[in-house]
Subunit: 200 residues, 2 copies
DNA sequence: TCTCAAATATACCATTTGGTATTTTGTTTC
DNA sequence: GAAACAAAATACCAAATGGTATATTTGAGA
């Protein structure tokens, strides 16, 4: 078979697709190898033929979960014409996200950051890089909006970017733990207020 | 011995004081009974004589961690004369909190909410109640400020309260995972901006 | 179609897990 | 000081844990 992907590459992806939700829901420590074999229908031998160890699967599962979210956000963002509307996509995305339970288990960055910040430096670094990349993305959009004359020149891009991320992640935490969709809605209104304040 | 507390009550507290940081750092799933015996110097028999099971210790440890934080906040808040300054205490407290690494492992509400929201309903309920009580506290302060003429009458207490909590918790997550104290500082500036907007 | 490597399954391992029944120790109370 | 009770330690358990060496199967290329 001269397929696009090799056999091992296909099973690697298969394993990640079947286990990514589990890691995101139960966490690294809470997910066992039995969970992985049960979810995939594969055996430990097969999993350890494609991954070095449990941590290696968790790292790849995080990358998988993250890329799925990033892709979904970027698809919407490309269609937004103004920088304000591009930034507004975050608010829209997470408004939908909490309603469709996507991704299963909540935001992988948040989940991984909280569990790993004191226990697993590799996972922690992954989450940290994701946050910094997200922040840079917002900062770049704000700066571009300032350069284009769409936004005020006296804005603090770092503060705004970090506050948007904090509001979203904090809002997700509140909404999920209290089973209250409207809690996130209200927090997202503050995100939108921050965006309005950017405008000239 | 006719002490204030009974023997069992004293060992219960001793166990909680010695293990609260561990649960807050490693999480419920990541903390083993061996961790508990090692930290206390006691044996499993002793721990299970004072608690029904591991979950029971975790629940009590959460209560302990939470009460320590609440007490520290309330002490400062009582000394603040105006409602604005009372609300400002949150910003001050978490500014200090991240610098003194108090509590060890970060915010217990955040940690517990993220781990337990899909895995442990008892712990989840504890975290949810803590969030709702915190929210009510802020809402009450805002409403009192409105009633006293200190704050505007057109404020949305729910939205402001939830946004303050989201900013703080999201900011803690960002700062801890990226090892960046200034990230939290910037997010707290937005909290302060929300407070300023409350004023008449 | 045969071969051979790659992929997967099997069978096993030591250790750790949460938990308990029983014994020992410590503390009151009479 | 002995009896009665509470608290803690000991010794144990089955099950689950992450991981590995080896056997078997599979499938792709010559």
């Amino acid at each position: 078979m001269n397929n696009e992907l090799s056999k091992s590459e296909r099973t690697r992806r298969f394993i990640l697709e079947k286990t990514a939700d589990i890691f995101n829901t139960k966490g690294y420590a809470g997910t066992s190898l039995a969970d992985l074999t049960e979810a995939t229908g594969l055996t430990k031998g097969s999993i350890y033929g494609n991954f070095a160890n449990k941590e290696d699967v968790a790292l790849a599962a995080f990358d998988h979960n993250l890329s799925v979210v990033i892709q979904a956000v970027q698809e919407r963002m490309q269609q937004a014409p103004t920088y304000y509307q591009k930034l507004f996509v975050y608010s829209q995305f997470y408004y939908d996200s909490i309603r469709t339970s996507f991704p299963v288990g909540g935001c992988p960055i948040l989940n991984t950051a909280i569990e790993a910040d004191d226990t697993n430096s590799l996972l922690k670094n992954r989450a940290a890089k994701a946050i910094l990349s997200w922040k840079k993305n917002i900062v770049d959009l704000i700066k571009a909006g300032v350069a284009s004359g769409e936004f005020r020149t006296d804005v603090d891009p770092d503060q705004t970017a970090l506050s948007i991320i904090a509001l979203i992640e904090g809002g997700i935490m509140i909404a999920r733990v209290t089973n209250s969709l409207t809690s996130l809605d209200k927090v997202l209104k503050t995100v939108e207020m921050l965006l309005v304040q950017l405008k000239v």
